[in-house]
């Protein structure tokens, strides 16, 4: 999956990819103060594409808000919502709106699920539907944080650690391997990283084609940008 950290104050963005074995579960957001946890499990292509690169994508997210007693299990197949002991199943083929005391859901048929958890976080999960006979790809999901300003300063995770911004400097712009993608040196978290200017896609407005967002790409699974190593974010279960 590709990760994008948008920094509107600097009119810039950072991005990195994490590719590990299909089936790995990563922690994306963890806020012990508010009791929020978002984990995602990856899935791989059906077989190795001609370029030999095995890509992984998220196909299932587990979201828990302990304080509010809300638990969501969102996969490419279906959506389970558990609140106060009651369980509701939604299908991606539905269009639905659920308004509860602690959680609001807006499901757009075959496209997106917008989730608002009271006084904490708002996010949208996009469904990327792939033709079932596609030789390589399968259906997968995207996770976009829309509002995170109410989360505590201790929020962490692959995405969560960036919710309160990040300090970095970029210098020494130079030609890269590809003329369209110059390299540069980034000073971040006390380290010097070789980064490459590129772009990744935001699919919120156009789920099919996406829109390019220019960003500084951090190589080697985000090493240097992330606190610790990407393997530190691997967890054993979805919840």
């Amino acid at each position: 999956p590709h990760f994008m950290i948008e920094l509107p104050d600097r009119e810039d963005a950072l991005c990195f990819n994490i590719n590990d074995k299909p089936g790995t579960i990563f922690n994306l957001v963890r806020d012990p103060t508010s009791g929020i946890l978002v984990n995602g499990q990856t899935i791989g292509d059906k077989k190795t594409p001609p370029d030999g690169k095995i890509n992984t994508y998220f196909w299932r997210f587990g979201i828990v808000h302990k304080t509010l007693g809300v638990r969501l299990d969102v996969s490419t197949e279906d959506i389970w919502v558990l609140q106060d002991g009651k369980q509701v199943k939604l299908l991606w083929s539905d269009t639905a709106g659920l308004k509860g005391p602690n959680v609001d859901l807006l499901l757009t048929k075959d496209r997106s699920l917008t989730v608002t958890l009271r006084d904490s976080v708002k996010f949208v999960i996009l469904l990327h539907k792939v033709w079932k006979r596609h030789p390589y790809h399968r259906d997968y999901l995207g996770f976009y944080t829309l509002d995170s300003h109410l989360l505590s300063p201790s929020v962490h995770g692959l995405l969560g650690q960036f919710y309160h911004g990040i300090e970095y400097e970029v210098s020494d712009l130079r030609p890269g391997e590809v003329p369209e993608k110059p390299d540069a040196t980034m000073f971040v978290k006390g380290q010097e990283l070789n980064v490459t200017r590129g772009w990744q896609r935001d699919f919120r407005r156009d789920v099919k084609n996406g829109e390019n967002v220019p960003c500084w790409f951090i190589h080697s699974n985000g090493t240097g940008l992330l606190d610790g190593d990407f393997t530190d974010y691997i967890v054993s279960g979805l919840f």
Binding site: M4, P49, H128
Partner: protein
Amino acid sequence: ARSLQKRSTNELTVEVYSVTVDCTVTSRFAHTVMTSKALNRANRSQEIFFEVELPKTAFITNFSMEIDGEVYVGEVKEKEKAKKQYEKAVSSGQTAGLVKASGRKMEKFSVSVNIAAKSNVTFVLTYEELLQRKLGQYEILTRVKPKQPVQEFKIVTNIYEPQGIAFVNTHANFLTNELLPLVEKTVTDKKAHISFSPTLEQQRKCQGCDETIIEGDFIIKYDVNRAQGLGDIHIVNGYFVHFFAPPDLPRVPKNVVFVIDRSGSMSGHKMHQTREALQAILKDLHEEDHFALVAFDNSIEVWRESLTKATKENLSEASRYVSNIHSRGSTNINDAMMRGVRMLIEDREEKKLPERSIDMILLLTDGNPDGGKASLPVIQKNVRTATGGNMTVFCLGFGNDVDYPFLDVMSRENKGLARRIFEGSDATVQLQGFYEEVSSPLLLEVDLRYPDNAVDFLTTNHFNQLFNGSEIVVAGRLTDNDLDNFLVEVYGQGFEEDFNVQGQASAVDWDVIYPGEEYIFGDFTERLWAYLTIQQLLDKSKTGATDEKANATAKALDMALLYSFVTPLTSMVVTKPKTEDGTESPLIADKLTEEQRQLAERMSHRYVPTRAHYPVMNYLPPTHFVDGD
């Protein structure tokens, strides 16, 4: 006197170091990416131009500029809304139109951008089109005009046709004997690869000079193998496309009335070319065809009172009549058309014409009606009422002064089509070419039927005629994404008997046909469907009741925005980087209508669409996200 040597003003301070044209055709749907990379060698900033030509049947789908790592991407917007939003820029003249008419088949896309000293710029233009089968072949036309020899120059085309490729021919008007061997062509059963990539030295006009011989059209023509019966159906990613053009069908005899404008404005060259073309067309008539000649100015004159069988004797008499048509008077299109329609109706009633035959009127005119009934809507209505949907009207509009939209609507309302004939020495050939395209109907009232519960969003599936050398294309979406087979039926009226075939269409396994390459096909079929739907909606937006027109326009607009096609209803807005004084000038790519192209030609290439816009970016709130790419 001292001889002063003038310093060269043509010093090359801009180096275009890469020009590539990459075209992929899958099931007739062509996706072309033109990329140009340049370097400003100068010690000062300067304007760099990107000018390319694309077929007028194509829709631009993307344009981007990358300047020193910063990418400026085009965004497709509703033309009318954008116009209002950019009014400020319009009034201050800060923008420039990007698309101009260029010749008969092409449109020119041009943009310029100010580049800092020693900086690079990369322009990427993408366009898409559904190739039309005409006279038994498809044509991919690429026009190239690099201003200087280029380090990396490449035209690469890959054609994927699961039906199998019957032939591929390549030619270019700049190919010398030395360059000819550089065109590499590999054709296997279902794939063709054509590439042309001369070195810097091979591009030079002369040794050591900076002029290039690469200038002109690079044309690839090909056809696919045709299956008997149902035709070919490709199902990919939940969308299907059905190509129908069975081989070996007998042609249906036709009854054609030639309605010939001999008004004063046709005098000279045009009249001469019309006579020549008619002589040639007469020679092409088959003996089982019937024909009539109606010449008109402000008065109407018929060669014979009713249609005549195309025997040798009759044709040679007709030829003598044609050679004596001379220009005079004004233009009474209404009464001439009424006369032609009446002849067909009367002859039908009197059973002078074969029962299974097609009735058509071919109007050839160069101007606006100014005699008899001059109101255009009235003439259109009269013709529509008179034909009663029982005959086809084809119109040939000669030259730049013809009222093309009038002819276009009149033809469409009567199952036919209009074509502009461009003034030039080859007008005779153009006239003949058009006639050839439409003169051999193979089937009438062709219906392509699919199960209602399995498909939706079908493009037009009823066609008045199938012409020899052409092809019927229908596309749609499968409502059941899991469907691998569905029943298809084709019905049409043939010459001696009806054509009726039923069969099961199944998804081909692209993985098997193109092992290792199927990755590229992605959403080709869906985009083909979208392209075809938009084209048909744009056509519908010109004819029919007012609310139907509005409905078709609205739908076409929605789809053009959704699929990012630059159509006559949408514009592509690109924000140029700020100049040193801090001003920002947006650029617009529009799609010309036939009327605008005609206007452009009337203005002798002085025409620039001057619609100017400020860019509007609907920013989404910034986010941290994770997704697939």
